[in-house]
Point group: C3
């Protein structure tokens, strides 16, 4: 049964990677709200009335940019967290798992820095590495699960 | 190994909290589609042609509002579900877990009520409580995982 | 304890379904970026400057359409992955689980085909089947978890 072969160190590394990136995404979400407050520009009319600001739609560029960074993070984190957990539960190799987690953590941190800092080449490269990690880990996990099933 | 110390009652409470909030988010998603149909205002040209309505972009305010409520729910539910499952799998304390789950369930329910009912102060407070639950549960889970690993 | 009654074949089928749909969503995400590049129309000013294209906001219709397909996929995949894993961990019946996974896989594949191919009736039906699978699997899983707890 897959569960019993789970590697505790891999679980720990995967969990910490996921927690760190979750907190990063959470703070990006809060940063869109905080930036709206600082600019006194609100997407909801009731917020503008409450906080004596302007009702603007769409968001100002900087808010929209943090929002895009946040959304891109969540889109990729969802797939990493789900496919990664399946990889760990399927008893995936710890060494390969450490590499997936490390590469994803670095790539997604650089992606945030590049998006907020308007560095498009770094952003594309960081996104691509994160993309490749999800593909590799998913195919690796899928292969393992099929092997466990028919092996 | 973390898995074996999972508390069954905590798993149950966490799972039920997550299922209830998933169904809430699912119905908010369906409500955007249903409201477009009721207003005969569609974001896709082919829907407008099919259902004899208007092709509007962006969505009418009420559809956009349900959409924002839905998106905010999913953004927070993703992080709660992922970090919460890691907390449960890591053998987190049941009592603290019950508090995290209860507070998150109440906060996110109030958030939906406040967003749809245009009550900005309640919405901000509910969002903040949900935010703090994710931070606390993630740090608590991360701490536990590090302790398990080196302990 | 729920974990120990997990069915290995159900875990495998659920994991493979989730991995296939994750890769589909991942490629839809990359397709929005690739289509922006092909049309030389970029949402970020720095991309337009870097790649000698136009800075457009909002995205061209075809990019926005792929983006909506992608977003709808992630919204539903999140709920399926989370509630499905809880169903599997709770020791859900394998036969019902196979049906949930098969129906969801077919429905969400058809949804993508219908959205990109502008076929609104097929899109609505595919969406509805995916929606019903999540509702059924969540209620089934929730019922099981309550039964395990009090049983």
């Amino acid at each position: 049964m897959p569960i019993t072969s789970m590697n505790p160190a891999l679980f720990a590394v995967f969990a910490l990677t996921t927690i760190i990136l979750s907190l990063k995404a959470l703070f990006l979400g809060a940063a869109t709200a905080a930036t709206r407050g600082k600019l006194k520009s609100f997407l909801n009319a009731e917020d503008a009335a409450w906080l004596s600001g302007a009702h603007v739609d769409p968001d100002p560029e900087i808010v929209a940019r943090i929002g895009r960074t946040h959304r891109n993070d969540l889109e990729n984190l969802l797939l990493f967290a789900v496919c990664g957990l399946l990889y760990v539960l399927a008893g995936g190799s710890a060494l390969a798992g450490f590499i997936y987690c490390g590469a994803f953590l670095v790539a997604r941190t650089l992606h945030t820095i590049a998006y907020l800092g308007r560095r498009p080449m770094l952003r594309r490269n960081a996104y691509t590495i994160g993309f490749l990690v999800i593909v590799a880990m998913s195919l690796h996990g899928g292969w393992l699960i099929v092997s466990n099933l028919i092996g």
